[in-house]
Amino acid sequence: MADTRVALCGITLDNPVIPASGTFGYGYEFAKFYDINRLGTFSFKGTTKEPRFGNATPRIAECPSGLLNCVGLQNPGVNAVISDELPKLKKVFRKPVMANVSGFSTEEYVYTASLLDKEEQVGWIELNISCPNVHGGGMAFGTSPKMAYEVVAAVRKEVKKPLIVKLSPNVTDIASVAAACESADADGISLINTVLGMRINLKTRKPLLANITGGLSGPALLPIALRMIYQVYEAVKIPIIGMGGISCAEDVVEAMLAGATAVEIGAANLVNPYACRDIIEALPETMEKYKINKLAEITGGAH
């Protein structure tokens, strides 16, 4: 019997499959399609201190093997997430959930993370210092090791639960940012967020997205993600959640061989709402094909 369990910062997951923040809402839209308790866990929509509408539309542009988005962290704000969304989430999901947190200042990150840290169902805090679609925050914190260290250290002081830091690929040396997070006592690293890109409308000769640029996700990202997971695995000892273009069980195995303990799946959920269920169902067969008995044992196997 294939053993798909993995341990993520002290919490055992039935399997390593985690829908990525921003592609899964607060879970209940997907709970209508399948039993989301089959997931390892999921990372809910990025939450900020204040409510945010996000950017103007168009926010979506198709690309070869992927899409650009510039949603811009639309969310109802941490207070409404706690009072309205988490009770609804609890009705459809009984496992620990990952709380994705973003902000525009260290104080905002600390405020939002410490409130969500107190919520019983929150198992991990995923600190998003890599959103490319907001100005004056988000990705700015993840582009230098020094800034990453400062925000992670500040949040670390106030957060008791495992703290995972989500990194941007839009940097020269992602391993040095990951190492800075580890030295600030982060418990894990998740990567990669989207790659900054743009498209131009040939008819209007103007940028297609209202925000001009957006983040690329989808299968186009897989090789970039694998390379960065591999690099970060060499640089840190804390667990890695690998993401970026993962669309099938083989991709999960590949990301784990590169160094991931678990994986997040984003864009695939948008084109196939059953993507994560399908991947979980395909895992045992894929493990058998590649002679894997315990999935947890292959992490970093390519090194």
Binding site: P64, N69, A267, L270
Partner: protein, 248 residues
């Protein structure tokens, strides 16, 4: 929402750059006018959201305009081709508010969902009037189909090559009083109808979508009742809740 496989029955040009595709498959639960399907196309990452034009027996009719690579590819689909559709998406029109004599207004690609709506309202015994607007006669479609429903059918073309010259709002003044408006079309048309119509109504909007079922927040808009997702909370908004985006 449900994922269903449909088979292409026919796919033909009905006006300039406008195609009518008929698909056979399980249409149960898909009778609500104003909803859309999201179609997976070979070689394209995102699905293509297309409003439902008609439902009959075991088939689904969609009308689409070729505006880019995805719809260009769609226009080449042959009979027998199997397509993966996410069905029953969006809220659709609420026909309980129509009153006895509703006015339907459609512009260009916004006309198709009004066909199933008109058919449904006629079946409810309503006295339906429809105005369809096009740029020019060669882009016009479904005039006879609407007439065959036995409803009053007016056409406006911007260049005057068919029907009343001008926009749908120019034809509206000839319609007399009506109980309610149902509209679908490009945003400038919806906005013009909004200001030209005294009656309450429902307006169907279009936006570039990621998922089409409410997960990605790609198609959000502001309303008087907070932000809404065009794909999930829309595409139909009540006239009274619409906030028009400020012109840039």
């Amino acid at each position: 929402m449900e994922e269903r496989i449909f088979t292409v029955k026919s796919n033909k040009l009905i006006a300039r750059d406008v195609y009518e595709i008929k698909l056979s498959g399980d249409i149960s639960g898909m009778q609500r006018p104003g909803q859309f399907v999201n179609i997976k196309l070979d070689g394209f990452y995102l699905r293509r959201p297309i409003s439902v034009c008609d439902i009959s027996a075991d088939s689904l009719t969609l009308i689409y305009k070729t505006v880019g690579n995805g719809t260009e590819y769609m226009s080449t689909l042959q009979e027998g081709k199997k397509l993966d559709l996410l069905t029953m998406l969006g809220n659709g029109y609420d026909i309980s508010k129509s009153g006895s004599s509703p006015l339907l207004i459609g512009g260009g690609c916004g006309v198709p969902p009004l066909y199933l709506l008109a058919k449904t309202l006629v079946a409810e015994g309503k006295s339906v009037t429809i105005i369809t607007g096009f740029n020019t006669k060669s882009e016009m479609f479904y005039k006879n189909e609407f007439k065959s429903l036995g409803i009053r059918t007016l056409v406006a073309t911007a260049d005057g090559s068919y029907g009343a010259k001008g926009f749908v709002t120019d034809a509206m003044v000839k319609c007399g009083d009506f109980s309610y408006t149902y509209a679908c079309g490009p945003e400038p048309m919806l906005k013009a109808v909004y200001y030209a119509s005294k009656a309450s109504g429902q307006y169907s909007f279009e936006e570039r979508m990621g998922c089409g079922f409410g997960a990605c927040m790609g198609c959000s808009c502001k309303t008087l009742y907070g932000s809404k997702r065009i794909c999930k909370d829309g595409p139909v908004l009540e006239k009274e809740e619409i906030i028009w985006p400020t012109q840039e």
